[in-house]
């Protein structure tokens, strides 16, 4: 059964990748780190990259499910 997810990039990560996001369909179960390897195969994930699934922080081993919105971004610098 195919799983479709949406991936979003923010801030310096969005700039360095040159795009705001990706979509990905896959068959076998993937976690956050594995999604990165699929959508950004040419580049290792920058150190300190944060990940969120459906707007909640997750670690890199978190499984990604059908319909999820997965976001990657650098450390936050608001305030």
């Amino acid at each position: 059964m195919a799983v479709a997810i949406k991936i979003r990039y923010f801030a310096s990560l969005k700039e360095s990748l040159g795009r705001e996001g990706d979509t990905l369909e896959f068959e076998q179960a993937l976690n956050v780190a594995e999604v990165w390897a699929r959508v950004v195969p040419a580049q290792a994930m920058p150190e300190n990259t944060l990940a969120a699934v459906n707007m909640e922080y997750v670690d890199m081993a978190h499984p990604v499910l059908d319909g999820d919105e997965l976001a990657f971004f650098p450390p936050v610098t608001g305030g």
């Binding site: 923010f10 969120a52 650098p74 608001g78 305030g79």
Partner: protein
Amino acid sequence: MIKIVPAEFDPFAEVQAYQAQQAALAGKYGATNLFIGTMRDFNAGDKVKGMTLEHYPGMTEKQLERVVTEAEQRWAMLDSLVIHRVGDVYPDDVLVLVAIWSVHRGDAFDASRFIMEELKSKVPFWKKEILVDDNSRWVAKNSDGYL
């Protein structure tokens, strides 16, 4: 109340207006603490002429709500108002306001500081600075406010 605003705002007018609307607060609060973060015209040794504040619509609000709820669980807060600016900002513009109303001062001080530290370390906002030579750079990391 939590607000993400794309235009300049006056933190004092916001607090006055909010407080005036909260009839339940009248006579009940002994302490109000306001923290206001304002854009400086310098950072890390360089002059800065502007900044863009990016956020993650949806997640930013969700994480801010979580931070305020956590503060409410830890301290006896009567009410709070948190406003954060996004978009293009300039020196002297207000970036963030955290206002807390409580019966006693310790709660207002503690909750304000907690919310600011959590906001700075966990809520998705990102600053890109525009230097006076028109070069721009992303701010890499917020400092710890206790140091």
